[in-house]
Subunit: 599 residues, 2 copies
């Protein structure tokens, strides 16, 4: 079976670091036990290995085609979709009485990581459907839910999120798709959407588009955007499929990677308007969509983490297997070559990969425990704190794995050298697939503005206070520990850098927002490094304690690796922060002062 992730690490994250078993205390999970969590993970792993992994490279080499009538995917995509749906994964986070298995968020996210690892582009159809269904469930009327939700949970229908338009990109407030009231409570939509993933295919009986549009006469900007459900096919009251709706595929986009996910240009209302149904209240669409986007952002982070993770595992296998060269101190050409993992520079790359990949994975799984706590923590204040912290860190959960996971893919190619640049090895595809992640669901620049401009702002927010409380508590835990004690003091220095740069930027923001925000992306990067540094310290504390209390031989190597990776992180990854923070604190104007005609 293909090695998709390091199972020992996933187990470590879930049960040793994140203490997932403690969820069994909560009423919602009373009927579960650890065996059920493990069985879920193992089902995911098996289906991923059996139905998704085998066609990952085939899907890349044979991207979807459109003959003007229908979209064709490689045939392996459909059985994979079916296996995912049949195992109940489209519904598993829903309640028992809704047909779900009421599983905790973190168990499901970890399960999803196995699918990502097996085949990120075939998996996307399912993930989009889960997100669209959540949106419908949260904000749709009972009537809409009755008609469309069940088939999205059992795999008969799939879903999309249709936000972007050709002339608007990240500036959602400028979207122009128009919704005219039809008089019968429904609307007719007219407009064009672009980069809609999963926007057309034949995997399912129907595709449910969750579309942002502006009701005729609505205010301009973000305050006039509403959410509509627009099915590809009309549905009769008995649930059977009727005519095509007026939604047409204008064409497929051809991407660098992620190729088995169709990326589409969709025309709504080429004829008499695409029939759409308002979801929730008028003009509140963007707020609703953000629920889905925030989920999707954790999903992007997890996808990027997973691709980086696989890149690490592929490079590690190669490095342990490939003999080449000798140690620098050995000048005797008649001695045998060593495996390249023995070379310090190869270790450097693998260590960076490990720090990025496992750190990203740990971050995303931690974020999913915040989603969990925001929903199911017993205490109201705990739910609120989790929600606020999640809100704060979502920009980093999306961007850090996207940036550093891609670097892990890049480093993987470098470990393989010439071989890594050929399509004979999987890394070439992982690198191309992973390049999407810094772009979709909000670019790095957008996330920086979101973090500094919205989540913090001139006054900071409760999430920031909560972040500081929690990281300080981890630092306390490390006090007196042999290795973690010094790691904690390195992280503490970085934290105090963050605190002062944050207040300097808040000061700048209050004087001149354009200036204050002009280095937001670098601030995001600094914050992200400290956040992941924290995540690494938490892992190292667990590992150092486990080592102290005695571990099996293989566990000993595993825990030592965790401690050493944390040590690497606190030294090398935190090293540049002070230099950058100084520029932020002094309000460096390079970006702001550059003029268009000077380029």
């Amino acid at each position: 079976m293909a090695k998709l992730l390091n199972d020992r690490d996933i187990e470590f994250q879930l049960y040793e670091v994140l203490e997932t078993e403690s969820l069994l205390q909560r009423p919602r999970y009373r009927e579960h036990d650890r065996a059920i969590f493990d069985a879920t993970l193992s089902t995911a792993r098996n289906i991923a290995a059996e139905y998704f992994a085998p066609h990952n490279q085939k899907g890349d080499a044979n991207e979807p085609t459109f003959d003007g009538q229908k979209v064709t995917l490689i045939p392996e995509t459909k059985p994979a979709w079916d296996a995912f749906a049949d195992a109940g994964f489209l519904a598993s986070h829903h309640d028992f009485d809704e047909g779900g298995s009421q599983l905790p968020e973190v168990v499901l996210r970890a399960s999803m990581a196995y699918f990502n690892a097996a085949n990120v582009s075939s998996t996307a159809y399912s993930f989009l459907t889960i997100g669209a269904a959540n949106l419908l469930k949260s904000f749709g009327s009972d009537e809409l839910k009755q008609k469309y939700l069940a088939p999205m949970l059992d795999g008969r229908y799939s879903g999309t999120m249709a936000l972007t338009e050709p002339d608007q990109g990240s500036a959602l407030g400028d979207l122009r798709t128009l919704a005219k009231p039809a008089g019968d409570g429904s609307y007719r939509l007219f407009g064009n959407k672009m980069y809609i993933s999963g926007g057309d295919h034949e995997l399912t009986d129907n595709i449910i588009h969750m579309v942002l549009a502006r009701i005729e006469g609505a205010p301009s900007g973000v305050r006039g955007i509403s959410l509509f459900l627009v099915p590809k096919f009309h549905v009769n009251d008995d649930g059977s499929r009727s005519q095509r709706n007026d939604v047409a595929l204008a064409g497929l986009l051809h991407k660098m990677g992620y190729r088995n996910t169709t990326s589409t240009v969709l025309n709504f209302g080429e004829k008499d308007g695409a029939v759409g149904y308002l979801v929730g209240e008028p003009n509140k669409g963007l707020g609703y969509m953000f629920q889905m986007m925030n989920e999707a952002r954790i999903g992007v982070g997890l996808g990027a983490a997973t691709l980086g993770y696989q890149s690490y595992l592929e490079a590690l296998d190669y490095a342990r297997d490939r003999p080449q060269g000798r140690h620098a101190s050995n000048k005797d050409p008649d001695t045998p070559q060593v495996r390249i993992v023995e070379h310090a520079d190869v270790r450097r790359m693998l260590l960076m990969q490990k720090a990025y990949a496992e750190g990203s994975m740990a971050l995303c799984l931690y974020a999913s425990t915040l989603v969990e706590d925001a929903n199911t923590a017993p205490d109201e204040s705990e739910r609120k704190a989790a929600a606020e912290l999640l809100d704060l860190i979502t920009p980093m959960v999306k961007t850090w794995p996207s940036k550093y996971g891609l670097m892990a893919s890049d480093l993987g190619i470098q470990v393989l050298g010439g071989a890594g640049y050929t399509r004979e090895y999987l890394l070439e595809q992982l690198y191309r697939d992973n390049r999407l992640n810094p772009i979709h669901e909000g670019t790095e620049g957008i996330q920086g503005l979101d973090l500094l401009g919205r989540k913090l702002g001139p006054k900071g927010g409760d999430g920031y206070a909560e972040f500081q409380r929690r990281i300080l508590s981890t630092l306390d835990q490390a006090t007196g520990m042999e290795t973690c004690g010094s790691l904690a003091s390195q992280l503490k220095n970085a934290l105090s850098t963050l605190q002062s740069v944050t207040s300097d930027l808040q000061q700048q923001l209050s004087v001149d927002p354009d200036h204050g925000l002009s280095n937001a992306t670098m601030y995001l990067d600094i914050f992200g490094k400290i956040l992941v540094g924290w995540v690494w310290l938490k892992q190292a504390i667990v590992a150092e304690k486990a080592l102290a209390s005695g571990a099996s031989e293989s566990d000993e190597a595993f825990y030592k690796g965790k401690v050493h990776a944390a040590r690497y992180f606190m030294s090398w990854e935190l090293a540049p922060l002070e230099g950058y923070a100084r520029l932020l604190s002094e309000g460096n104007r390079s970006n702001l002062d550059m003029q268009s005609d000077w380029f």
Copy 2:
């Protein structure tokens, strides 16, 4: 005509920064004048635009095929090769009496950059031929030169460099291709070579492989390697083509990019041995090959710089054209959208691209003036100093553009967002093409070892002393200048960091070479940043002076851009160095201490 490079910038580098006209004083260039240099550049630009650029994307989408008998390239490749050869570019650095045009290195390198910009993979055939011909000219016997050199200079034959073998990779000392004396002065070669670019095709009548092999009974390791000329076809004494030599194409490798350059696996001696002719003396092959590799390393740097440069120009065009969003301080959705070049974060990315692309280009052109001076400077001590400095900086000339030029390509995609990820825009290809550069002609790790272990070593070298002399002289020039004065003091701080980290590492090297070399790649990165910082300061000094003495309106914007990019560089690019240098100075052992089973 396609915009391949910023012509104004190339002119600035050649005539304002590098003072190329001063070469006209040297006897070798007595018959030239600036008009001839300009005409050479313009010929290159025209041929590149007419014959190379139009099939760049087609060559990417239709990679070479091999039917078991012959290799097929897209048909546009041949007329491009012919146009390059017919214009004399295969020979133009050679003497007049050898059929060359005796042009200075820097003019030719700048000309080559236009070809790289137009189509890096179709151009590679020519560049490899130039390198192979240089090797033959420098070390081949008169007999070999008579037979093979002229057709390599006029385009009838092409050339390759055949070093790598499947089981040896970067560790050249372990190569196993065997050369048995045939008794008639020639040899019979047996072995397999891999990743041989241009190793087979039908562009030319013949392909001349410059092959590293070990003569039967030669010492093991690097001291037993000899250089052989192995033609694809035997050549009769009258110059006509005879039988195939025993060199067989085992297969083509399928690459991420650079696709119109064949990458081959070649089998030498499947039957009775490939006939090869010794070039130079036995067992000195690696030294000879290093001449070609050092040229090739500048060539890789230049190629990477060029791809980064194009990525910058493509992103800049897009950013100036694409309206999206508003300034952060403008909350009114009814105001018009601005071009994305107006957004601070987009400017950040473009400014980074400019700093990387133009800095890389300036570095490579500067290196080519060192090649020039090493050969034609009037004074022996000047020639020696140039050669030593070139030797020192070659690892950075190869790696800095490869790393940061690729980042420029990456940033270009990010500027375009979703569009950049599609194959509808050139950036997608530029990114894939550019990913090769950190790998071939010595990976980043190999270059780090070369710099620290060989070029500097425990005692430093004359090149390092020369580097310090020259950079201090530039710092002196900036004294008293309004902007450059403060840029110089930033660079001076970084230089003193470099000096202390260098001596700390030399100390570590003298105690324990494995430890001293274990962070060599990071040292290479620090040195490279300071080297390029110097290159930027030199540009800024020229620009600030030009501004002070009055410039045309368009020149004013150009010069201001140069000064501002240098300002960006000294702030943001030098900012992290101190943090990293501290780890190097204290001899951080993260890479060294990591154990294989801890991963």
